[in-house]
């Protein structure tokens, strides 16, 4: 029996049109709208003062209930408020014009009734799904630009209006990435709309404004991030260098018959790795976007360029032949001294220094990546890198594997150059997004995230220079090697 009743109730519910179960927002607006109808009738009877009083009653009710209407449809809320503004303007005019008051009240009644009837298709809601992306906004601008190219002002106006509606969903995202782009977009979306709605519409200026908006929003849509491969590359390069020093120190200990005291060396090595990891995590936490919010891109910019400069410095000076020789000599001298004086703890310090020196450099590069990589990826990269290093260390120390130095340094130099190129590109891009640098887009070249390459002249020029300098250095070295070879042949 109970089952039958429930089924019957369900059946009747399904039979009724949805409108019968009107929501609270519609009911509230219907009540308030009665006052507007009264105001309209009074205005028609030339009773403007009482008409205004009736309208004020509507106004009071509106403020009470507007949240419900806004929740149901932001588009409807805006449209109704716009009509209300027109009514208030008509009443505020001095002397008040009956025609204007009647026309504006009529328009308000109509729009209210559309809402009450539940027909929401008349209101353009700003992306109800809330899944607008910056790409969507750029697409709207492209459409607006295409419409303007064909002199279709009406269509362009609609696209800009849609842009403004969608903006509310995405503005937070834009603000966290670049306050400059945010402020510019806020200004330009308003001015492009005003240019198009002016009489006659200023198409040329509007087109330029839309183009500008597109130019500074595009970079936000594509955002370079670093991969686990980048993390491992750096760790391997730096780690292997440290490993070579450790191998040399071990050799010293064994040669001098202190092989059993190599624990001292492991302590130093362990401390070096630990301190470097702690420094790395601290840096990542400090530079994460959560900590810095609005200035995220300024951080990417500064740290990217800083890392690029550090890499160039490291590649061309620190690891130049003379410097490596000096460093090795220093290690040799110190270890001989340590062995001579019997203070084996200084072997620990040497191992620590060797690891910490490379570790600090690793951290510097991680700063360049930190704001564009998740902590998990960074840590995973570090763990994997250390694992590979451990295997290599095992192979070198226990099995006596010899690292082929030339290919190793050749491959790692190419990788370091790739990272340097990427750091430079990302750094400049970050500064562009932070508004420190201009972004002049060109369609001549595509943007390639993998290389941190963006199609703006501010990116293309410095990155091309870097590439050219690298090619020049490679060619110069090749020629010098060939000359040396020739000289050696002559001498032989």
């Amino acid at each position: 029996m109970r089952y039958t009743i429930t089924t019957l109730i369900m059946f009747f519910i399904l039979l009724f049109p949805a409108g019968v179960f009107a929501d609270q927002a519609s009911v509230d607006l219907q009540k308030a709208n009665d006052h507007v109808i009264n105001a309209f009738q009074l205005a028609e009877q030339n009773n403007l003062i009482q008409s205004k009083e009736e309208y004020e009653k509507y106004n009071t009710l509106w403020y009470k209930n507007e949240s419900g209407i806004k929740d149901k449809s932001k588009g409807a809320y805006r449209s109704i408020e716009e009509r209300m503004g027109e009514v208030q303007f008509a009443f505020a005019q001095s002397p008040a014009k009956k025609v204007n008051i009647i026309t504006s009240l009529k328009a308000l009644i109509e729009i209210n009734q559309t809402f009450i009837s539940g027909d929401m298709s008349a209101f353009k809601d700003p992306s109800p799904t809330g899944s607008t992306t910056i790409d969507d906004l750029v697409k709207l601008l492209d459409e607006a630009k295409a419409a303007l190219d064909q002199n279709n002002v009406q269509a362009a106006k609609q696209q800009i209006q849609s842009f403004r509606n969608s903006w509310l969903d995405i503005e937070g995202l834009v603000l966290t990435q670049s306050s400059k782009v945010y402020a510019d977009a806020e200004r330009d979306m308003v001015s492009s709309y005003a240019l198009l709605t002016s009489n006659p519409p200023n198409v040329a200026d509007a087109k330029q404004t839309v183009k500008n908006m597109r130019d500074y929003l595009i970079p936000l849509a594509s955002k370079t991030s670093y991969t686990i491969v980048d993390v491992i590359t750096i760790l391997l390069r730096e780690g292997l260098e440290a490993l070579l020093v450790i191998v040399a120190l071990l050799g010293f200990l064994n040669k001098s018959g202190h092989g059993e005291k190599k624990n001292w060396l492991w302590y130093g090595l362990g401390a070096g790795v630990l301190v470097s990891i702690i420094l790395g995590i601290a840096v990542q936490l400090l530079f994460s976007s959560g900590t810095f919010g609005n200035n995220n891109f300024l951080i990417i910019g500064c740290t990217g360029l800083f890392a690029a400069v550090m890499l160039i410095y490291m590649s061309y000076w620190l690891h130049s032949k003379s410097s490596v020789v000096n460093w090795k000599q220093y290690i040799n001298n110190q270890s001989t001294k340590a062995l001579a004086s019997g203070k084996l703890w200084s072997i620990s310090i040497l191992a620590f220094l060797a690891v910490f020196r490379e570790g600090t450099e690793t951290v510097l590069f991680f700063i360049g990546m930190a704001s564009s990589i998740s902590l998990t990826t960074l840590l995973l990269g570090i763990v994997l890198g250390i694992l590979i290093l451990a295997i290599l260390a095992f192979l070198i120390l226990k099995i006596g594997l010899k690292i082929p130095m030339r290919p190793f340094f050749l491959v790692s130099s190419v990788l370091v150059f790739y990272l340097c190129f990427k750091f430079l590109g990302t750094g400049i891009h970050g500064l562009q997004l932070a508004g420190v640098l201009r972004a002049t887009h060109t369609d001549l070249l595509p943007s390639i995230d993998f290389f941190g390459f963006y199609s703006t002249w501010e990116n293309i020029i410095p990155q091309s220079i870097l590439l050219l300098v690298a090619i020049a250095v490679v060619i110069r070295n090749r020629i010098r090697d060939q000359k040396l070879q020739v000289q050696m042949n002559i001498q032989q």
């Binding site: 303007f89 979306m189 002016s198 810095f292 919010g293 609005n294 600090t360 450099e361």
Partner: protein
């Protein structure tokens, strides 16, 4: 020596970047932005630049959207005092010929209300 220099440069960088970041208050920023726009609007009214006035009205609306919910919740009387003149300014700016006296009056009203917002 090299290590300590490197550490020092990291610390300096951290401090510089930390100084760059600051939190903003939506209401204070919003009121300030609206007041700035009102000043601009007043100037554009004097030169009878209808396009600019319309642009300013749109700007006012955009700024208000950002913090109106907060005002409605915490200072409901102020909310109504803003919505009134703001609606009139929006409608007035759309007219082909600007009603100078009315718009200027509403600009003053809105500005006075904005001053009272905490």
């Amino acid at each position: 020596m090299k290590v300590s220099k490197t550490l020092l440069s990291i610390i300096i960088l951290v401090f510089i970047l930390a100084a760059c970041s600051s939190n903003s208050n939506a209401t204070v920023d919003g009121v300030k932005s609206m007041q700035d726009t009102l000043v601009e609007m007043n100037k554009n009214m004097d030169t009878n630049d209808t396009v600019k006035v319309k642009e300013d009205a749109e700007k006012l609306e955009e700024s208000w959207k950002k913090f109106e919910d907060g005002i409605k919740e915490n200072q409901p009387d102020m909310y109504e005092k803003v919505e009134g003149p703001l609606g009139i300014i929006q409608a007035g700016a759309k007219q082909d010929t600007l009603d100078q006296a009315l718009l200027k009056d509403q600009i003053t009203k809105l500005n006075d209300t904005l001053k009272q917002i905490k």
